[in-house]
Structures are given as structure tokens and as C-alpha cells.
Symmetry: D4
Subunit: 226 residues, 8 copies
């Protein structure tokens, strides 16, 4: 057989070891399309240089098992596909987040947001299955929302929930569109556009299905209290 | 000066005189980009062949004045830009429609819907400025919605109002996205997609800013009672 | 092996038990991406609180079998992927719907619409394979369309059929674009845009492939007769 | 005042003098955004090198008057904005085209197609205002369509007319989407996509509002008879 | 096990038996997503009512074998996925088409066009692998193009070939964009838009990957000679 | 002259007087397309029911003068087109925001964000003209960013600035895409998509050109400190 | 009259004085939407800190006159709308560029590219009006293209010219799509996508209508010879 | 069994044997969707007629093994999927390229670019994992970038890296967007648009994931030194 090209021995990992110092949040690993070894090496290097939580998103069970070999105690949620690895067992508690979710199909994304916040020391509460077609459900839960520091709202399809929630609470609303839906949902585009055009004040938006990103935004917000 | 091409003397008007017989709704004139004379001739011919209301949409005041010369008693609303012309003074009353509107910027489209329904003999009620950011407003009005036969909901920006309304009423909800908004509203695309993906049952959608179309849909619905 | 994250024991089901009271239509289960257990639990809870039909859309045979364990008598169509579960055996008859379909590839969506209407007590008639390339076919069927209370028109590709039908009948036309086609059909976008821009009066549109939604719209329309 | 940059004296006109020899159709001038002098010079140079008709599309009256100075006898239609200039007064007759038009708002584009065909020696017939909402109108005219060699169909909004026409005639159908419509017509995109996905055989499509292009296609088709 | 819904015994086949009389081209079967039995029944019914060729596009080998049971002598090309079935063995020869193809990846679509034309009695010639990056290749073949009655040009990626070809031949050019390419080709959108905006005269366009449609257009064109 | 339709005397203003109680932020007036009288009446009613600042966005000078008649002391910025009206002269100071701006063309949007924050009691600092093509400029300013509670980043064209900023600061970054740019900027779409896909943590996004919305998000964030 | 908000006296100009040192190209002023004073101040500050050419793109005559007050000798082209200001009268000659242009409507963009290159010391040659519909024109010019160091190709509509040119020359081809065209040209999108999918090697692309950017790319390329 | 259509024995390979003479770069094989035999035959024919490197992109291992049978010594990289085949063992060294890569997920595309450049005789250096969220990483590497003749920058997600790099180096920057990302990355569209709108000078862009194309552009650039 003929010669394969050696995959070039480039230094493929340029860990940004100072990011945690600069921003208080370590670099994360985007696991999609990476080999288990790549995820393991990146996670391991990041944990070595970090005092806090290290995340790998969109991970497969295989990638998780590879990480686990290098970072004992790492945890994994098959539903959200989030790996959390950290050296220290606990964080000082810091603030709280309410994760509100329109339908049960949106739960994987809501889980990712809540698990991210939890790993960073925030207390999390959950409000699930309160789509706007039965708007009384979310109104009943409104008083509880003000008890949190930040509200993350996860919704697919028409993406209408953040507009309703932001009119009911004093808190910043981080909206997460999901790819739940079909046809003219266009993989989350409908919910994304709806949220960007929210008629309610105080809504900002992250990428489609990006529960992890919403968790990090919430973390930065609650740190302003310190 | 050289020869202009004569605009060809084609028979440019092929009035569908039997449409009213077939469908109970006369052909309408889409006035955008037509000359006042074209609008006048089309409206005049349609009124001659009609027992009911004839409409010209997106009309200018100049087009209205031309129509008025040929069809005395025609009316016009500068805000909705709708011309209504009819031979008979009155219609037999037929059903009722509630026109619900998210914000005051959506009023021209809501007017067009209500004026269309009114001209066709429907009694109309109006609920205005009840965007979902203050969701209590529309909840308070919900009992009244069931009193109508059809509910037309007009909204721009996030287009979230039909989802909320359809969860509060038993009536068919005809959703009209408007081009109100900016940026990622993309001239009504955000509201349109949101409405097509409504998580609530019983919502159907017409074209952006098409209040006239919504009025005709409502008219067909109430006729099912006959 | 390291610790998996426990899927959080959030109360994931917030059944909107009063929706049927408010709207006369029970909440539905969007089965896509849910586990069989999730579909079963949701359907079961909804049937308990309902006097009418409960639907699960886009269901797999596995999800159906799970539902069947909890709700004896539930039915399922492999072609439309619709589960229908109801406590009472029969509905009082209420109105009628004609489901018109452009091509045989559109049948799964047309089935979903007809099965939904049927489960809600409507009598249904079917007109199939009457695409506009052979326009005499639908013209011959036109008199029958006026005999129904509502006409649902299902079409992919050019989405031209609702415009023709709405010019032939007095009835409200609920148009359902399908994802049938290829290339510049863009998964139903071409048909959707065509229908939204229908040059005929009385057409409103639901989401791509959303036969279920069209059935619910029809149900609300016929109830206006009561 | 400081120095303006001289517009560079580049040889800005590289007339393709042999195109008429190769293709039987002279190069055309796309007048949009050109100065009257540019249009005049290009048209003049093309007429000098041509034995047939030279066209300038999307022209203003000012551009026309400039052309007229250089090419006596040039004609112009304010509605279609087409300038036709030719040395020889007449063409040998060559074939026939029927130009079918959905609504009166589509007339400028239909005119451009018919005037192009006429200038190239084709006999033209017109069928106007036969939108598919009154489908009997076009069916009545169907026998006449087969009498032409080619059928050009011009339509905006839902773009449904070519599908109906192509099912009624044996002739090749050249479909021209127009930008007539609003909202989700997206400047002709809806009609364009609808036509590209026509469920009828024998339809091909040109650019939005491109009546001129349709005329040239028709000309090439009828020449196959020679 | 619970009751499945019987697939409704609707008359799912409304064969347009007169289409061949009206248009000279029998209805075709779009096989994508249909069962082998559905394709067989439709093809069989069409062949019974037809004097010419019947086509099923996008067919699988399984669908072909089902058709073959009912229509002996039907042929199939695995590369173009086209089934051709006809009662009479031969057609009277009618005109000629040249099928020009930019790259070898475009061959399945070019095959479909050529096989369609061939089955309808046209003589076909092929020019393959003449992308515009080596423009001398197509220039050398230009004289041969004028020998055909129609030129079909098939290209993906930049879709530039029809513009070059239409400047080299007198014949009508039917352009077929293909989904060949990646990234910003967006499944054929780039080629489609490029072709619709061709700077050369005499180009009309069919749907992405629609070689069959191009063959039918060519057939209608050559019949104008009769 | 014939009868105009009276603009219907609907109660067009349904002020959400309790929104400030619920959310701590009064309803705002979206002035685009409203008459000066509509803006004046809405602003006046809101100020009457409010203890804080009332905003009208996208206002013209004429609308401002109308507001000023009813609400003495209202201020207006021609560049940002923002009207600020409030009963009480001063707010208790609450937190701080840094508004970072990529280019001088982005200043109107940055102004709107800063003026909103200022009117709500926040201290504001500005960093202007620090596009990523000269990345040292923003690095030098990074220490100052951590001194604020929230960082708003305004950028058009490639929308790259928020990704760089979020990697340099601990603070939540609210990204505002602007419509600055041309061609493939598509009125801000390029910047919007870039920001939604930021590879840096802690970024959330508001609508294109929506400086006002960013100011409200910042306000909600700093209130979590209370 | 009430108080206007003072436009905040922020330090709106953060000139990147070291960019010329780092990159050999001074910062440019994007004049669109700026006041004449803003353009003047930015240009003046840049010229002070620069040893080479300073550019302001998309400038109006008014902006040019303001610049001229501060920077004597600045030049301006009304067609390309480019202002060039430099302290030193001449540059050392550096390399050569050929600017190839599909149609005369593309000249403003081609001018901008050529003027930029010229101001940076490159010798420029021009090839104009060589669209691919008459492909012999560009083939005849091909030998001259290899005499330049870089070839810039400017084209709208189908954007096919760069593919042809890149197959004829050894030189790097910088493709500039223009917004010339109508309908499905979508303001240059068709040409942009076509160029990105070029089937010829050695093509890279800049933004729509961005002749200035192409000139800068060419400048960087020729400097590799030094 | 019935007759299959013989795949027509068209001369499917029209090798552009003179392309290497004209452009100095041989034709390449786009392997996606081709059979191993097609790839082998094309590669073999090209190598016979070439003095340099022949490439097959997007190849599978099976296609590689087929090529290897015909062209001993051909190499293959499973990660980039690039086959390189050449007759002569070595090239004269020609210039240098730096391949800069935002994240490890972008490595396959960066590999393809580097392997292409390497096969054409360029010396290549690699900078990996320097996304702009940790902007110090790329700044530290900036001096090295000027040591290369060309800089290729590969990035997905926000596509922000080329803007930063182009502000740090004097070299031409060839930007390659990748399809890395999710949600509103839309398969690389976000990165593509961001790069086309780069606020930094000297950036040109190739198709999404087109590392091969970037390598060819770099090759043409470095040849200008000769």
C-alpha cells in the first residue's frame, strides 16, 4: 500500500492558560467532531491549569470515558451531552438562576444551561413545560422568578416565551432558542428571530441550542454582585 | 422626437364576473403600482357586476378620487389605504369578528382587516395595544374574544400574540404578521415564522401586512353558519 | 466508571389541564425526539384530564406501543405517524371537512389532517391527486367542495392548488404546504411562500407538513356553527 | 478646489460585434445606472454593427432621448422601459408567441416580452388578467395558446399560472416571475420558486421581471423551425 | 395490541388521462418517497392510457422491479434513477438535442435529460466535462451545438457554463443547475442564481437537478417544428 | 367628494400601567411610523403613570417637539433619535456600564445604549473606534472594562469585536450588531450571525441597531446587585 | 424648546497610528453615513501619521470638499466615490495589476480597485466589457493578463467571469462581485455565490462592490516580491 | 428481468491537458460522489499529462486505494481527505505559507491547505488553536507571520480571526471559513459573511471548508516572486 500522509505533528493545542485569570471562566472544549483523545487531552490540560470547572460540550459517551481516564470525578449527562470536570470539589455559592423551559422537547438544552450554572456555584431552580399556549402556567410561577438573580428562558417553535417572561419579572432574561420544531421552524431560525425581536425589555439572546452559553452569561451576571 | 411605442391596446381587463357567484366574494383590485384610471376602471367594472362589496387595496388618495368619480359613495381610509365600493347600501348582518392588535404601529393593518369585515356585513370589535410583554391585558380581554365568531390577531416584531390568544379562546385565530420592527425583523419575516410555528392550536396565517386577506378568511368562516 | 450526572428530577410535566376548558381542544404531544416513556406519560396524563381526543404527532411505532399500554384503544397510523387517544368512544358529529391533495406524495400530511378532523367528530371527504397541471380534475370536484364546511388543501412543489381551489369554492381554505419536492423546493419553502401569496381570497396557511394543525383549525371553524 | 481624479480614459466599450453572427441576436444594453451618453454610445455602436434589432432595457426617458439623437427611429415604451433601435425597417416574419399575464400589475413585464418578440419579427398575441383564482378564464383561452409557437407566462404573487397553462397547451412555456406582490412575495422570490417547482411539464424560467429575456428565448425557439 | 388506523381507502389515484391529449406529454410519476406498489400502479395506469413514453423519476431499483412486473420492457438507469415505460417500441424521430455537461459529477443529471429526450424520439448528442475553467474545450465543440435543435446545459458549482454556451450558439439553451459542490454552493442555489442571472441571451432555467424537466422542455421546443 | 372612512374611534392606547411595578422598567414607545400626536399621547400617559424614565425610540424631531409640549424637560438626541422623558429629575445611581464601539459609524447606536443607561441612573463610560483590525487599542482599554458592571459592545461589518472583548474581561458582554457595512453585510445580518456564534464565553446578543435594548438589559443586570 | 441631549463629547477618534507600521497600509475611512467633518478629521489625522496613501471610501462630493480643506491635493472620483489623500507626492513603483471588468455597469467598482492600486504605487492596466457571453473577447486579452502580477476581476449578474479568467492566466485572481443586476441577482448575492464556487483554481473573493478591498489585497500580493 | 438502460458510453473525460501550460496548475479531481474507478481514471490521465502535482479532494480511502493502483506513490490524509499524486518526486522550493487555525475542530481544513501548499513546493508553518477569545496567543505569533509570503487563516463559528490577523501582518490573508459550529452558524455561513465583511485590509475569501482552494491561491501568489 502507498504512503499515507503523516498527520502533521503540529502543536495542535495552544491552551489559553490565562483566560481564567482574565475572565474568571476557563476555556471550554467543543467536543463535536473531535476524537476522544483530543477531548481528553484538551480537558486534562485545562483542568491542570484551572482552579474551577472545565466543560466539554456536545460530548459523546466515548469522549466522556476518555476524559474520565484523565480526570477522575468528571461527570456527564447523556441528555445534555455536557462533561463537567473540576479539580476542587466545591465552589463558593454564587447567586441563583431560574431555568424556564417551554416544552419537554427543550429539556436537553435547559439541562445544559442548568448544569453549567450549577457547576459554577450557582443555585438553580427549574420551571418546565410552560409554553405560552397555556399562559397561566408561567404567570403562576412569576413571583418565583424574581427570587432568582437571572432567568434563562429556553424555547423552540415560535420562541414566544421570553417575551412573556420578561414582562413578568425584574430580572435579566437570557433567551435560548432551540431547534425544536419542524417545517418553517428552519432548525431554530424562527425562534431565534422571534427572540431577537422581543417586544419586552431586558431580553438578550444566545445561539440556537446553546444552553452552555446561557449558563456562562448568567455566571458573569451574578458575579457583578461581588 | 422619435416614435414612442403605443402602449398596446390589449384587452387588459378580463373581469372574473362569475367569481362572486362561485365564491360569494367579488374579485378585488390590488392598486399598488396601477394608475388611477386603471383602478377606477377595474373597480367600476367589478361594481357593475357585483351585488356586494368591491375592494381596492393599497390605494392612494389619487386612486380613491378616481374611483369616486365612477362609483359614488365609495369610501376610503388613509390609514389602511383601503377603498370600499358597493352598490347596495347595506348587507345582511353576518357573524362577528374580534380584531386584536399587539401595538399601535400595527393599527393600519388591523384597520384594513376590520374595515373589510365590516363592509362584508360582520360586526367588529377591537382590542388594541395588548402586546405579550404585558400579558395581563389580553387575558382580561379573553372572555370577550369567545363572544366573536372569529379572532384576527395582528402583530409585528416577535409575532408572539397569536400563540397566547389561541390558548385563551375557543375561536379560530387568523394571524396577520406585520412588517413593524427593525433589524432582524426582516420586514415581517420574524413575525411570520413565529406565527407559522405557533405552539398553540387553531392558528392559521396570512401574508405579511395582509389585513384584507384576514378579513376575507373571517367572512368565509362566518358563512359556514348559514 | 465516573459519576454520571443524574438527570435532574425536575417536575417535567406541567399539564395544562384547563386548556380544554378554555379552548375546547386538549393539549397535544409533539412526539419527535421524546422517549416512548415521555410520550406515554404525557398522553396518559392528558387523557385523564380530558373529555375529548388527545393527539400525539410525529410518533414512532415504539412510542405508540408505549401509549397503548397506558391508554387502551389508542389508534395509530404509520403513514401519518399520528396517535389518537380518547376516553369516550364517540364524539357528537360536528361539521364536515374536505381534504384536497395535489399528489400522492402528499398523502401522509393529508391523512394527518383528515384523521385529526375525524377524531374530533367531523365527517371527512377526500379528493386526491388533483394537481393543477390537470386542472380539470379539481374543477370537476368543485361542487362537492361547497358541501363541506371547510376545505383543507395539501400541496408541495409549486403550492399552486389552494389558489385554484379558493377560486372555486365559497368555503374557507386552510392551505398546508408539504416538503414534497426537491432542489429549489427547499423543503417546502416554495410551496409555503406560494400559498402565503395566494391571489385568491379566503386562504390561510399553516406550517409545512402540519396536517394536524390544519385539522385543529378546521375544528375551530366548524364550532362557530354551534 | 483640489484635483478630481480624471475618470480614466479606458476603452470602456468592447462591443461584441460578432455576437450577432454567432447567435443571431445582437448584444443588448442594460441601461440601469448608466448615463444617457453611455447608453447612446453603446446603442449606436451596436446598431452600426448589426443587421437586426438592438435593445436597451430598463431605460429612462432621458436615456431614450439620447439614443434617439444617434439612432433615428428608435422607439420606446414608458411602461416597459424598453428601447428598440434597428437599421432595417422590417424583419421577415418568424413564428408567433402568446404572452399570457396573470394580473394587470404584471403588464409592464408582459409588454417588455411582447415588444421584444415583435421587434424580432414574431407575431404576438396577448392574454391578460387571467390569474388562477378565476381559472375558467385561462381554460377558455387554451385553444388559442396552441396556435402560437411559444407561450410566455408572466405572473407575480403565487406564480401559479405557468403550472396551469403548461397543463393546457402543447407548447413550451417560458415563465417570467414578477416582483408584484408584498410581504412574503419577497420581491418576486415566491413566484420564482413556485415556477421552478412547477408540477407541470415543459416549463422553464427566466429571471424576475425579465420579460426581455423571455422574448429572446422565444425567438431562439421559433428559429428552430427554420 | 391496540387498533391501528386503517389507511383510508381513498381513491388515491386520479390519473389525468387526458393530459397526453392536451399536451402531448403523459403525466409522470415522482417516485421519491412512494412505495414500490404505488409507483407500479401509477405507471401501469398511465401506460394503459398512453400512446407514448411514461416516466418515473428518482426511482429506486426496488421501484423499478415493481414497475417491470406490470410493464414489461420498462427500462431503468441506476445512475439517473429514471424509469422509462412505453407501449410502443419506437417513436417517430423528432428533432435533436445536445446535452452539455460541466463536470463528471453532473453526469447523473445529464443522463436523465438525455434519456428523457431519447425516449421521446429525439436524437441526442453529448458533450461532457467542459467546465469553463478550460473554456477552449467548449469553444471547440461550439459548431456542433448549432447542429442540434436545442442545447441543454448541466452545471453545478458556479453554474457559469450556460452563459458561455449561449454566447456561442444560436439555439435555445435550457440550463439545469445541479447540487454538485459544497459550502456556499448551498445544494445548488449558487448555480441556480448564476443561471437565472445569465448575461447571455436565450437562457431559461429549470429546477435544481431536474434533468427530466429539461428533457420535456426540449421536447416541446422541437415539436414547434412540426 | 365621497365619504372617507372615519378612522375608527377604538381605544387605541392600552397603557400597561403596571409594567413598571412588575419589571421596574416602564413601557417604551416605538416611534417609527407613528404620528407626532400618537407619540405625544403615549409618552404623556406613560410619564403620568411612571416614577422613572420613559423612552421613545427612533423618533423624529417633529415627534420630539410634540412630546415636549406634553412633557416639559424631555430631552432628545438627533443622532440616536432617542427621546427621554421623566418626571423626577434624578435617579439614584445604580451601577455602571462601559459602551465599546468598533467604528465611528456605529456611534448612533452606541449613543442610544449609553443614553438609555444614563437615564436609568447608571454611570457610563465610552470606548470608541477600537475595531479588531487594530486589536492593541482594545487590549489597552481592557483593564478599564472590568471596572464597569456590564460591557455593551457595538459593532457592524464583521461583528468580531465582542468575541475579542469577552476574552479580555470578566464582565457580561451585551453585543449589539449594527447595520453598518455594505454588500454581504446584508443590513447587519453578518454582524448578528458572527456575534451569535462568538467563540468567547459570556456574550449575549440583542437585535440589529438596538442600542436601547442593550441599555435595558444592562439595567436589569446591575439591579441584581441590589 | 426643551433641552436636546448634548451629543456626548466622547473621544470618538482612536486612530490606529501604528497600523501602517504593522501592516504597511494605513487605516481607511468608511465615509458612508459620516458627516463631512467626521470624514475630514479622520482623514486629516491619518495623513498626519502616515507616510503613504490614506483613503476614504463611498464619499460624497461634500465629504471630499471638507477633506480638501484639511489635506490639500486630495483627489476624488465621482464615479468610484473614492478620496485619496497623501503627503508624499509619489510612491516607489511596486508591481502591476490588471483590472478586468465584465460590463460597463461594473465600471465604478473597477475604477475604485484601479485607483486604489494606482495610489499605492502599482501600475494598472484595464480590460473592460468582456463578459462571458462573448468569451472570445477575454481569450484575446489573456496573454496580457500574465504580464501583470495580479488580476482583479469585477463582475455582477452571473459572476461567471473570474472562473473563465482564472483558467486562462497563471496569476492570482481577486474576484469582486458587484450589485449590478436585478431580480434574482439579489443585490450581488448571485455573483458572490458564483465566485465563491468557482470551478477554476486560484480565485479568492472580496465583499460585494468592494473594489477598494481588492486593491489592498493586490497591494499585499505584489509586496511579496520585495 | 427487464432491460436496464446501458449507461451511455459517452466520452466522459475531457481532460484539460493544456491547463497546466496555461495556468501552471493542473486540473483537480473533485472526488465527492464519484466512483473509485472514476477518480482513478481521472487522476491517472491527469498525472500522465502533468509535470507537477495532481490532487483529488474529498476522497474516501476506497478512492485512494483505486488511485494508488494506477499512480504508485500517491499519498492520502484521512483527516483532510486529500489525495496527492505526482510523477516527479520533488518540486523546486517556492515561497512559504503560514496556516493559522482558530480551533482544533478546524484542523482538517487547515491540513488540506497546508498539504496542498506543501505538494506544490511551498514551505509551510502552522499556528493552531489561536481563536480570538484569547487574542494574546495570536499576537505573540504575529512576528512569525511576516516571515511567510502568504497567511492562510482558517476559522469557523464567528470567523473573526482573519480580521485580527490581517491587522497584525503585512502579508496577504487568504481566509477560509469552516462549517464548524452549530445553530446560527448555518454550516459556515456566519463565518463566511464575517470574513467577507472584514474590517481589516488585505483579506480575501474562498469557499467554506475549501482549504485546497486556499492552497492554490497561495501558490499563485508566491509565483509572482518569480
Amino acid at each position: 500500500m502507498g504512503p499515507l500522509v503523516d498527520e502533521r505533528p503540529v502543536a495542535e493545542l495552544t491552551i489559553d492558560v490565562h483566560r481564567e485569570l482574565r475572565t474568571g471562566q476557563a476555556e471550554a472544549v467543543y467536543a463535536e467532531g473531535k476524537t476522544p483523545a483530543q477531548v481528553r487531552d484538551a480537558a486534562s490540560a485545562l483542568v491542570s491549569g484551572s482552579t474551577g470547572a472545565v466543560f466539554a460540550t456536545r460530548a459523546t459517551p466515548e469522549q466522556y470515558h476518555a476524559v474520565l481516564d484523565a480526570v477522575p470525578g468528571a461527570s456527564y449527562s447523556p441528555r445534555s451531552r455536557l462533561i463537567v470536570a473540576k479539580r476542587a470539589a466545591t465552589y463558593a455559592p454564587i447567586g441563583s438562576v431560574a431555568v424556564v423551559c417551554a416544552g419537554t422537547s427543550d429539556l436537553p438544552v435547559a439541562d445544559e444551561a442548568a448544569q453549567t450554572a450549577d457547576a459554577l456555584g450557582m443555585s438553580t431552580s427549574r420551571v418546565t413545560d410552560v409554553g405560552v399556549a397555556g399562559v397561566h402556567r408561567v404567570i403562576e410561577r412569576a413571583p418565583g422568578l424574581d427570587a432568582a438573580d437571572v432567568v434563562i428562558v429556553v424555547a423552540g417553535m415560535d420562541g414566544a416565551l421570553p417575551s412573556v417572561v420578561a414582562g413578568l419579572t425584574r430580572r435579566p432574561v437570557v433567551a435560548v432558542p432551540t431547534s425544536v420544531g419542524y417545517g418553517a421552524a428552519f432548525e431554530g431560525l424562527a425562534a431565534l428571530l422571534s427572540m431577537l425581536n422581543s417586544c419586552a425589555p431586558g431580553v438578550s439572546v444566545v445561539n440556537i441550542d446553546n444552553g452552555f452559553g446561557a449558563g456562562l452569561v448568567a455566571h458573569r451576571i451574578v458575579r457583578t454582585r461581588q
